[in-house]
Each structure stands twice: as structure tokens, then as C-alpha cells.
């Protein structure tokens, strides 16, 4: 099942309207050969519509989709030769596991002995060797998920699409399957487009993430870049937790409440600059110890113990409430703080991310 010919996907100007609502609004997106790309967005953002357009189940109003060099926008689903894992798994209940996995091979007129061989191989790949004769309703959720995956890869498609395949699994199994899918992708090398609304899942699995909202691409980048350098307020808000502080600009310098904010990543463009504060990037410090950092004074309003971390809600001088997340090891600074204390919060200049609130869309 080695992948010799993973195909790149080239999506350009794809638009789909339902009444007055744009499910996809002139989407341009290049998926690289062999890449694991995740479409991430809230429900109704258009990510599933885009995946369905790739599979051929949604007909866009206009646009172009190419697999490699071939325009496929008019190709019916059964001729697209892409594997797909459905959110509902869509395993045929009237067939056993082997018949389900062998179904695409039977349609391709593969000989019986070879079907048996390749089905076994696919089931081994998803660690379900020996499950061929099981009925679908005898399988657990995780096993169904694996069978659906085996069926999607058994005919060696050069593109694999997955529509929230892990959403029905419990948290432990889901996290386990994320790693497993990642390994499987490395092994098979298929170009993979994965849809999820779960930001942690997207960060865990992807080579790149395409953040989508209102049918538009908000940012396309690696997980680290998406998290550390969100391009706009939507991305910063949707991925991770963020508090936004509106900054003042004077002579090309940023400031908050009269204090200069050091932000080496800030391009200095005009606009409406806003500072993104992530709970885990803020540290409790003092005026002297945090000299090199951007400092804020705050009053502690609430403390929440959550086991692995503690959350602190604190009000800044202008009334904005910020959240600080800190580890709970013995002797940690947050352990010695009580509600009502005045404290100093520090933000490392490298963690100081400033976005332009005036620009919503991805500038590309």
C-alpha cells in the first residue's frame, strides 16, 4: 500500500451560496503533495462544505478544484478516486467488516484472492487483523472508526478526506487515535484533508491548518504559527484563549495606559493595533524581576484550582479582565496569592503579539 503518487490539491475561487449565505466565499487554497492539512472552523463556517466539494457531494456555484493537473469540479464522486472517512463512519450494516473494506476493490474488479489479501493488509494497518467476519453492529465506536479508515485507504487513493472522524469517540480514545492517524499518515503519505472544529485536534495532527470562518480563509499556516502569530482577531479568539487589549500608537510606538509596549513582531503598520494576551503566556512577576518584560498591574478577582493548573482572573487598571494560567507545583507564585491582592503581570516581548483589528481577513 505504498503511496507513490500522492496528489496536490489546488482550490481556486470556489464559491457556494445557500440563499444569501455564502458557505464558501471565493476560497483559494493549495494543499501540498502528501500534506496533512486541517480545515478548522466553528460549525457553519463552511469547512464541511469545502470537504464535500472535494469529495464531489456539493456542487459549487463556481470555481476550480484540481487534483494534480486534473480539473475535477465536474467529475462525479464515484470517479474522483479519493478515500473518505465519514463522521458517521457510514459502514454498510448489511455487510461484514471484510465486505465493507473489500467493497471499493470489488467495484474496481479486483480478483477475489487479491481482495482478500489487500483487505487483510488494510485491517492490519488499522490494527484490526482477524476482524473480517465481524458484523458492523458488533464493533465498538473505535473499531468502527478503524474499519472506516481501512475502507478509505484499501484502494490506495492518492487523496484522503476525513470529516470529523473522531468526534464520536470519548476523550482518551480520541487522543490516542489522533496520534495513530498521524503515524498512519506518515506511513501512507496520502495527501490528507481533515475537517474538525476541535482546535486541539487540529494543532496535534496537522502539517498546516486552514482556519475558516463565514466561508472565508482566515489564516493558513503551521500549527505553531497559527497559535503564536494569529493573523487576526478571529484566529486569536478561536484558537486558544485570548484577551484583547486595544493599544495606542504614538510616533510608531505602541503603548497601553501610558506604558510603552515592546513588540518586536509588530510590523508598524497603521490601523487598530490590539495586543493578544494568552493565559499561559502571562507570568506573575515583580517590577524588578520583570524588567525586560511588558508589565501590567492588576488586582486579583478570582482564583480557580483545576488540578494540573490554576486559573487566576485579574482586573487591569482600565478594568479589562485578563486570565492567567499557571502550573500548580509546590512553591509556584500563584499558590501564595489571594483574592484582592495587587500583583504585577509580565509578558515576554517574544510572546507579545499585536494584530490589526481593522483587518479581518487574511492578507495574502
Amino acid at each position: 500500500m505504498s503511496q507513490t503518487g500522492a496528489l496536490p490539491i489546488s482550490i481556486s475561487q470556489v464559491t457556494k451560496r445557500y440563499g444569501d449565505v455564502y458557505a464558501l466565499d471565493n476560497v483559494d487554497l493549495e494543499v501540498k503533495r502528501g500534506e496533512f492539512l486541517t480545515l478548522l472552523g466553528p460549525s457553519g463556517s463552511g469547512k464541511t462544505t469545502l470537504l464535500m466539494a472535494l469529495a464531489g457531494f456539493t456542487r459549487p456555484d463556481h470555481g476550480s478544484i484540481r487534483f494534480g493537473d486534473n480539473e475535477i469540479i465536474l467529475t462525479p464522486p464515484h470517479k474522483r478516486d479519493v478515500g473518505m472517512v465519514f463522521q458517521s463512519y457510514a459502514l454498510f450494516p448489511h455487510m461484514d467488516v471484510a465486505a465493507n473494506v473489500g467493497f471499493p476493490l470489488k467495484l474496481r474488479k479486483v480478483g477475489k484472492p487479491e481482495i482478500a489479501e489487500r483487505v487483510n493488509e488494510a485491517l492490519e494497518t488499522v490494527q484490526l487483523a482477524g476482524y473480517g467476519e465481524r458484523r458492523i453492529n458488533q464493533l465498538s465506536g473505535g473499531q468502527k472508526q478503524r474499519v472506516a479508515l481501512a475502507r478509505a485507504i484499501v484502494f490506495s487513493p492518492r487523496i484522503l478526506l476525513m470529516d470529523e472522524p473522531l468526534s464520536a469517540l470519548d476523550k482518551k480514545l480520541r487522543e490516542h487515535m489522533q496520534i495513530e492517524l498521524r503515524h498512519l499518515h506518515e506511513k501512507l503519505g496520502m495527501t490528507t484533508v481533515y475537517v474538525t472544529h476541535d482546535q486541539r485536534e487540529a494543532l496535534t495532527m496537522s502539517d498546516r491548518i486552514a482556519v475558516i470562518n463565514h466561508g472565508r480563509l482566515m489564516q493558513l499556516d503551521t500549527p505553531r504559527a497559527i497559535y503564536d502569530r494569529p493573523a487576526n482577531r478571529f484566529v486569536a479568539d478561536f484558537i486558544g484563549e485570548s484577551t484583547f487589549l486595544e493599544l495606542d500608537t504614538k510616533n510608531g510606538q505602541l503603548s497601553f495606559g501610558g506604558n510603552v509596549i515592546k513588540a518586536p513582531g509588530w510590523s508598524g503598520d497603521t490601523g487598530k493595533p490590539a495586543l493578544i494576551l494568552r493565559p499561559e503566556r502571562l507570568v506573575i512577576t515583580s517590577r524588578t524581576a520583570g524588567k525586560a518584560m511588558n508589565l501590567f498591574t492588576a488586582t486579583v478577582r478570582e482564583l480557580v484550582y483545576q488540578g494540573d493548573t490554576s486559573l487566576m482572573y485579574a482586573g487591569l487598571a482600565d478594568g479589562t479582565e485578563v486570565t492567567v494560567r499557571a502550573g500548580t507545583r509546590t512553591g509556584a507564585a500563584i499558590e501564595n496569592i489571594s483574592i484582592g491582592d495587587d500583583i504585577t503581570l509580565g509578558l515576554h516581548p517574544d510572546d507579545t503579539v499585536v494584530i490589526d483589528e481593522a483587518g479581518e481577513e487574511l492578507a495574502s
Binding site: G83, S88, L91, F103
Partner: protein, 298 residues
């Protein structure tokens, strides 16, 4: 784990009594239905069963059953009954499957309107519909008049008082019994199955025959069985549209009572019909994957 001062299983007796009382309450709730079934169903059938063993002399005898085996006319009646039932069921499947499929593919609002077209006749009196067919199908009925006027045929075609008329009427009356369970089992097929089939490389015809059709079979079996069993005991339509030429078991039962005043013979026929129907239902429930038609489900 229990403390020494408290009894070993606290409240055990009380909780058991509670459970027992609940059981009796449930039984009490179902009692009216049980009594009704007993009075209107079990007792008359028992009485029929008893009557079927009473001969013309008023003594216990098997003559009512013996007559069925000896007389050729009875054999013909059973053959007719099965022939009409099988043909009606087959035609219902041929018309009803495409109809149910069409309905199941419509968006829900359009499907509801079309479903009304299926249900409206279903709610209309059976007798009215049967006589309406008589008006349409007879020698000087609408169909023959129009057909001749349009020059399609020159002599009136015999559309009624024969097998054709009986089948037309019965198919019309039975169709909803097939379409309704079939439609609901088709609606229950997850559209993702068909998408998956298509994604895996199945042409539309392949995904229909390899995925949709097998998954619709339980509904088809259930509907066909209902139609077939209802046909076996059908009376009005063959009586009106068959014109005395199509004599099914229930028509013969009426004849036995109304013409010959022979309750024993009528009862024996009724018993045989009941037994045959029950055997068919039993065999079908063992062999076919029927969707809930027998109640219990899987």
C-alpha cells in the same frame, strides 16, 4: 462494610414489596386491553373452532374438513385465493417500490404532500373506492367509453367482473399497506451510506443495487407480508369487482352462511384460513429480516 448495629440488608423487604406492587399496577393497566381481546377475539374464534367440528347432524364430526379435501370446488377456491393474493402482492411491489423510492428521495415538504396522495384514498371507505372502480371499469364505464371514443379499441373490454377487475381494485386498496412500511424503512437509510458507496467508486446503479436495495428489503418484506396476509382474507373487492367469478375463501364463507346456512362448513373454512395465515406469519418471521412488523424487533 455495613455497620454492626444496622441490619445486614437495610430495607430489602420493603424494596421487594415495592417492586412487586409496581408489577401489579402495570398488569392492571393492561387488563382492559387483555379483557377486550379475550371477549372480541379469543372467545369467538374458540366458538368458531368448536362449530367447525359439528356436522350437519349436530354431532361431533370431521365432515366439514373432509368436504374441503374431497370437493374440487374447495381446492379451486384455495388456488384462487392464493393466486389473487400472490398477483396482488407482486403488482403492489412492482408499483409500490418505485413509488416509495421516489417519495423517499423527495425533500420532506414535497414528500409530505405526495404522502397525502397515498393516504387520502387510504382514509376513504373501502366500499366507496370499490364501487368507484366499478363505475370506471364496467362495459359502459368511463374507461371503455373514452377508449372507444378515442379509437383505441372498438369493442368494450371486460375490465370488471373478472380477475383483472379484482386485481385492479385490490392493488389500489393494498398499495398503501406496502408503501407505508417500505417508505419508512427507506427513510431510515442513512444518506451517508449512499455517499460512501459513491465515494468508494460505485456508479449510481451499483450503489442502488448493492447498498440501497438490500437495506430496503426489511421494509419490502414487511409490506409484502402485510399485503399478502390481508389479501388472503379479503372479501369486499372480490365480491364486488369479481362478479361471482372470483371466489376467495372469505367469499365462500359468506356463501356457506347466507346461501346454505351451514355454520359448520363456514367455521371450518375460517379455521383453515386462520391456521394458514398464522403458519405463513410464523415462517416469514423466522426466515425474513422483518423490521418490527411482528412487534418485538431485534
Amino acid at each position: 462494610m455495613s455497620s454492626i448495629s444496622s441490619p445486614a440488608n437495610p430495607n430489602e423487604t420493603l424494596l421487594k414489596q415495592h417492586a412487586a406492587r409496581e408489577k401489579w399496577v402495570l398488569l392492571g393497566l393492561s387488563a382492559p386491553a387483555l379483557i377486550l381481546v379475550l371477549i372480541v377475539m379469543v372467545l369467538p374464534v374458540g366458538w368458531l373452532f368448536y362449530l367447525s367440528f359439528i356436522g350437519s347432524e349436530g354431532t361431533v364430526s370431521m365432515e366439514n374438513y373432509a368436504r374441503m379435501l374431497e370437493s374440487k370446488s374447495y381446492g379451486r377456491i384455495f388456488v384462487t385465493t392464493f393466486k389473487v393474493s400472490v398477483l396482488t402482492t407482486a403488482i403492489c411491489i412492482a408499483i409500490g417500490y418505485p413509488l416509495a423510492y421516489f417519495l423517499s428521495q423527495l425533500p420532506s415538504r414535497a414528500a409530505n404532500i405526495c404522502m397525502l396522495a397515498v393516504l387520502l384514498p387510504f382514509w376513504t371507505s373501502l366500499l366507496v373506492r370499490t364501487y368507484a372502480w366499478l363505475v370506471l371499469l364496467q362495459r359502459k364505464g368511463l374507461i371503455n367509453t373514452w377508449g372507444i371514443e378515442a379509437g383505441l379499441w372498438s369493442e368494450p373490454i371486460a375490465l370488471v367482473h373478472n380477475l383483472t377487475g379484482t386485481l385492479i381494485g385490490m392493488v389500489h386498496i393494498m398499495l398503501p399497506f406496502l408503501v407505508l412500511p417500505l417508505y419508512s424503512s427507506m427513510k431510515a437509510i442513512d444518506p451517508d451510506y449512499l455517499k460512501a458507496a459513491s465515494n468508494l467508486g460505485a456508479k449510481p446503479s451499483q450503489s442502488f443495487w448493492q447498498v440501497f436495495f438490500p437495506l430496503s428489503l426489511p421494509g419490502l418484506f414487511a409490506g409484502s407480508l402485510i399485503v399478502f396476509v390481508l389479501c388472503l382474507g379479503f372479501f369486499v373487492t372480490p365480491a364486488v369487482l369479481g362478479g361471482g367469478k372470483i371466489i376467495m375463501v372469505s367469499n365462500q364463507i359468506t356463501n356457506n352462511i347466507e346461501l346454505f346456512f351451514n355454520w359448520g362448513a363456514a367455521s371450518a373454512l375460517g379455521v383453515v384460513l386462520l391456521v394458514v395465515t398464522l403458519v405463513i406469519l410464523y415462517v416469514a418471521s423466522k426466515l425474513l429480516p422483518l423490521d418490527n412488523v411482528m412487534g418485538g424487533g431485534h
